[in-house]
């Protein structure tokens, strides 16, 4: 455990010194404030935190995954390419400890940036509007952190799977496109092929369960659903969704991605020669 903590601490220190944490926190704070003030719903002026969340969700689903991927893709392959991993593993530390230590450290960076960025923005908004629902905002922040951590795990898997930093980065970028665009296009395409456009355009059309399942296996969608189900003004699915699409289901999907990616990363890392 000591080794995991030491490596996690080093990751935080490294990212603090290279200004990653500050940059990401600033991005979150500025975007939240801009959306809250200039957001489309209700014209210009400060909006309630809940309304801000509704405006933020699309942006967060685009931004957090890319930040998670950028934080994690070089964590192993970058050090391997540079040579520092060889030195690190010559110390009394196991590969799984290196992997978990880095994961915890990068997750801490993600959590801090989310709390600092959204927190500062939340305080500014709360100073300008009345009756702020902090619990909704906290759920939004926690879910965003979880999404970020899932993508750190996926990025670490890329980092263990590839021999070159540039290949891992390419894979990370592809992963982002996969979950942000390609996945949705494929699932929607199958739905269209099955029912046809006319039927889909029908107001009373209810999508089949497999569609929800296939959509929500995508961690980005699982995050959106998680926030939608738990934050009052964002409930886009409510009334249409199958009963299995609930908070535990979405949480389980996100956790499965995280655990699955880390286990596979460990398997690949263990086999690697330095």
């Amino acid at each position: 455990m000591n080794e995991i903590f030491t490596i996690a601490k080093k990751e935080v220190m490294d990212n603090w010194r290279n200004k990653w944490i500050i940059a990401v926190s600033a991005i979150f704070a500025i975007l939240t404030l801009v959306i809250s003030y200039f957001g489309s719903m209700g014209g210009v002026g400060w909006k309630d935190l809940e309304v801000t969340i509704a405006g933020m969700i699309t942006l967060v689903t685009l931004l957090i995954p890319i930040i998670g991927l950028m934080l994690g893709y070089a964590s192993i392959v970058g050090e391997r390419e540079k040579g520092s991993l060889e030195l690190l593993l010559s110390y009394p530390v196991k590969r799984e400890e290196v992997l978990v230590g880095k994961f915890f450290g990068l997750s801490a960076v993600m959590a801090f940036a989310n709390f600092a960025g959204f927190g500062i923005a939340g305080v500014v908004i709360a100073m300008n509007v009345k009756g702020v629902e902090w619990s909704d905002y906290l759920i939004f922040i926690l879910a965003s952190i979880l999404l970020g951590i899932v993508f750190i795990a996926i990025a670490m898997l890329m980092s263990c799977a590839f021999k070159k930093r540039s290949t891992a980065m390419g894979a990370a970028i592809f992963t982002w496109f996969l979950f942000e665009m390609i996945w949705n296009i494929i699932v929607a395409g199958i739905l269209i092929a099955q029912y046809g456009m006319e039927k889909l355009a029908d107001k009373n059309f209810v999508a089949p369960s497999w569609y929800y399942l296939a959509s929500l296996i995508n961690p980005v969608k699982a995050y959106s659903a998680l926030v939608s189900l738990n934050v009052t003004p964002v409930s886009e699915f409510i009334g249409k969704i199958p009963s299995f699409v609930n908070t535990p289901f979405n949480l389980a999907i996100l956790l499965a991605w995280m655990m699955g990616s880390m286990l596979l990363a460990y398997y690949l890392f263990k086999k690697k020669d330095l």
């Binding site: 490294d14 040579g83 030195l87 593993l89 010559s90 009394p92 020669d273």
Partner: protein, 298 residues
């Protein structure tokens, strides 16, 4: 201290290390030599558990893969790399924490390698020589019993290299076992008790430099400076039975011969009317031994 049995490693079907067995005694300086791709670094990586391999490696009687054994090993890789955003002091603190060593005077350690004024500078801005010095400092953390040094003086200036060699000798005198790999053969000759010459993944010779020179008949050379060199002198020396080769380079006569032939050579030069200005015996170098052994193997 180190015992390797039938160590074998293949990379994508290419044999890097081909079933070698060797041991390194406690308190010994043991050098690994070989042309590029001979398997030296693979052997070192196997000892440190950085690669998967076939065979068995024991350090101090315990399995080398045992995590705890690494507490007693200091390693300086060929390509020293640290974390750019950490300072030299933070770097040492990080590695000391991994070894769970407390009460270290980091500044004294940095002073020992000449980096005391750079303790708070980010490692990312260090020159290759400074990185090498910091690398040497990190491998001394926790007073290791075994030091594995891959090109320890690489990137250092003459004074830096001399200081590192002096430190290696000093550590060895205190009982530290050292496994060394270097392309600077004079350095290996100066430091090591035994050398292992590798080629194509196998050991082709393991012994002390002295024994290897005897075994491979790499003989000492005489370098005689003459006041008035002549062909007559050269021919007379060539006629001596124990003389194998004679070369003339300006005023210098370079003679490859058996050590017993010295007196006969001096007499021959004087008989031919030559005047000796200077006389030196040049011992066989590791470089000569190395080249001969590798060429014979190929």
């Amino acid at each position: 201290m180190i015992e390797a049995i039938n160590l074998r490693k293949e990379y994508d079907g290419i044999v890097a290390v081909d079933g070698i067995s060797f041991h390194v005694e406690k308190g010994e300086i043991f050098a690994l030599l070989g042309p590029n791709g001979a398997g030296k670094t693979t052997t070192i990586k196997a000892i440190l558990g950085l690669i998967n391999y076939e065979g068995e490696i024991k350090i101090d009687g315990k399995n080398a893969k045992d995590k705890e054994i690494k507490k007693f090993i200091g390693y300086l890789p060929e390509r020293v790399a640290f974390y750019d955003n950490l300072t030299a002091l933070q770097t040492l603190q990080f590695f000391a924490e991994l070894k769970r060593i407390k009460n270290i005077d980091f500044m004294a350690l940095l002073k020992e390698v000449g980096l005391e004024n750079d303790a708070h500078r980010k490692v990312g801005g260090f020159s290759k020589g400074m990185l090498q010095r910091l690398g040497f400092a990190q491998c001394l953390l926790g007073e290791p019993k075994l030091l594995i040094l891959d090109e320890p003086t690489s990137g250092l200036d003459a004074i830096g290299a001399y200081e590192i060699r002096r430190k290696i000798k000093e550590l060895n005198e205190k009982g530290v076992t050292i496994l060394l790999s270097s392309h600077i053969l004079s350095e290996v000759q100066e430091l090591s008790h035994r050398v292992a010459i590798m080629n194509k993944g196998k050991f082709i010779a393991i012994d002390s430099v002295e024994n290897l020179s005897k075994r491979f008949e790499v003989q000492p050379k005489l370098r005689i400076e003459l006041q008035h060199p002549s062909k007559e002198i050269m021919n007379l020396v060539k006629e001596i039975k124990a003389v194998k080769d004679v070369k003339m380079d300006g005023n210098i006569l370079e003679i490859l011969c058996q050590p017993t032939a010295k007196l006969a050579i001096i007499n021959a030069i004087e008989e031919a009317g030559g005047k000796i200005v200077d006389f030196k015996t040049v011992e066989p170098t590791l470089e000569e031994i190395f080249i001969k052994v590798v060429k014979e193997d190929e």
